[in-house]
Amino acid sequence: MIFWEIAKRNIRIHLLRSSLAMLGIVIGVVAIASMGILGNSLVLTVSDSLKTVGDSVIVTPHVGGTMGGFGGGAGGSSSLKITEQNFQQIKRASAPNIAIPVLQTSDRMKLGVGSDEIVAAIYGLNPDDVPDLLKLKEGGYSRGDSGVLVGSTFAKDNNVKVGSRIAIGTDGEKGTLRVTGIIEERGMAFDVSTDSAIVVTKNWFDETYNRNDYDKVVVKVKNLDDLPGVKTAIENQMNKRDKIVDVVDTRKTMETIFAAFGQITTFVSAIGGISMLVAGVSILNIMMMSVTERIKEIGIMRSIGAQRKEVMSMFLYEALILGVVGSLIGGTMSLIGGYAISSVLLQTTKYLFVFSSLIHIIYGMSFGIVISLICGIYPAWRAANLNPIDALRHE
């Protein structure tokens, strides 16, 4: 493969300009791959945070609609509530799936003698429903109204352990509860975001905040294929005349979110692709220079028996080497850069070494090689089609 050898040597002899052309490809690959990796890591991060709630239908009072069957509730975070009657209708519509009524508020609380008061979210749940909704990483579920579960971030930030006591309300006026368990980290969630919150029993919540209605209903759907059907059934039941509830299929919402992230990733990768096109122009320019400098050499080759396609292959090899070497360097730098960026921005590198992230390096490298080859085609074609007589006369 003498033409391969000549291509290699020509790159080596013009190392500086070849390196500059490769630098363009390196930058292009890094831009495409790192943007893709970052976007994918963000998707995976959000996916991990949301995956525990992808099997739910969330029913909340319709914001901006008529008050319908809803009444105001004391101590709630919203004036729109779901009544017990509404809940029973939702429960019937979603049967045989589990409908979990959720109460929610926030209050002051103190975590031991001498500690500062903090404000945190409080969820009220039926003790029977809690195991269906929350998993514990430590301790056990509350049996009586004096027990409380705490979120993992809440426990960590406030140094709370199983057995710790939490005084609710200003100066503990609403009572003191004992921590029976610490909830597994759930991340951002559509149903209940418990990481920085506490979970009390519905009875205690009702008595303490004088509530007899709900903030939302979470329907845990056993078969994921039933999600759209359950959503429709609830809407048909509740919104017959007026829209009084908003019903969200969490899986659909997650799909929408992931699709949006995917589009953002594609968009930023496309911006990276522009730098690759600039690199391609640089390759084109250098290849044209190479052809111009070697016109006489091409003429000699043609006169002593080199076919057009062989001359063309010599220049395409050159473009290929520039593309492959540039892409390999770019791919390696993307991995290193991706590791650094993931470590700093996402605080974890676990999303880097997965196929869906690494594929962006392959995309970047492939694009780099393809662009190099495409930009090498015209100069190579021009070289191959030089008239041997004119080429031999060239000085």
Binding site: M1, N10, E297, I300, G305, A306, Q307, R308, E310, L392
Partner: protein
């Protein structure tokens, strides 16, 4: 087969169409080259020598008339076939040596062999041909820039001979050499011719032309002698 002329020109006309009007570079040229001949082509500048050389080397095709190389008419041949013909049956020697600067001496010499075989070749034949043109073994791994003009021309001769061509076409082979080195190259050519190689040499130097056994003189696109 051996009695067949290696090259025949029959009423060859070459016209270059130019915006200012057609220019007739060759006008009804006919001649024959037999195997083992050593021919000089002489003529003043603009007489049509280069056009004749290009046609003999299958780098160009005639406007009318016919050219036969080893009995094969080149007029209707494709670019690919003409290229193969140049590779297999014609050896070129240029005034400015025209070696490939990126390749060493052995690689330069074996380059046409590689074109023919489409794979790596045994460099031994290259060494053997280089020795036959009296190039020292110690120079084989050098690049063209590292050896003298005379040595470069010997390498060029070796490259032209490597595929055992029917004809050696030389364009002012000593034009870029001093007289002593040029004489050495011409002695080499004469020796090759004595061994049976057919040589056609374009030159304007009558001293150099004396090495040949026949001279074709050309003027205004016609053979005058």
């Amino acid at each position: 087969m051996d009695d067949q002329p290696v090259m025949v020109f029959k009423d060859v006309v070459k016209v270059y169409p130019l915006p200012s009007g057609d220019v007739t570079a060759l006008d009804g040229v006919s001649f024959q080259v037999d195997r083992g001949e050593f021919i000089s082509v002489m003529g003043p500048s603009g007489s049509g020598k280069s056009t004749l050389l290009n046609l003999m080397g299958c780098l160009d095709t005639p406007t009318s008339g016919d050219i036969y190389i080893g009995g094969t008419r080149i007029r209707d041949m494709s670019d690919k076939d003409l290229t193969n013909l140049r590779r297999d049956r014609i050896g070129f020697i240029f005034q400015y040596f025209n070696l490939f600067p990126l390749l060493n001496i052995i690689e330069n010499v074996t380059f046409p062999m590689m074109l023919k075989s489409q794979k790596a070749v045994d460099p031994e034949k290259g060494r053997s041909v280089l020795r036959s043109v009296q190039l020292d073994d110690s120079l084989f791994s050098h690049t063209p820039m590292e050896i003298s003009g005379g040595q470069q021309q010997r390498v060029a001769v070796a490259r032209a001979l490597i595929n055992d061509p029917d004809i050696l076409l030389c364009d002012e082979p000593t034009g870029n050499l001093d007289s002593k080195t040029g004489a050495g190259i011409m002695e080499l050519m004469s020796e090759l011719n004595r061994q049976g190689t057919t040589i056609i040499m374009v030159t304007h130097d009558s001293h150099i032309a004396e090495y040949s056994r026949r001279t074709i003189r050309i003027a205004d696109g016609r053979i005058v002698e």
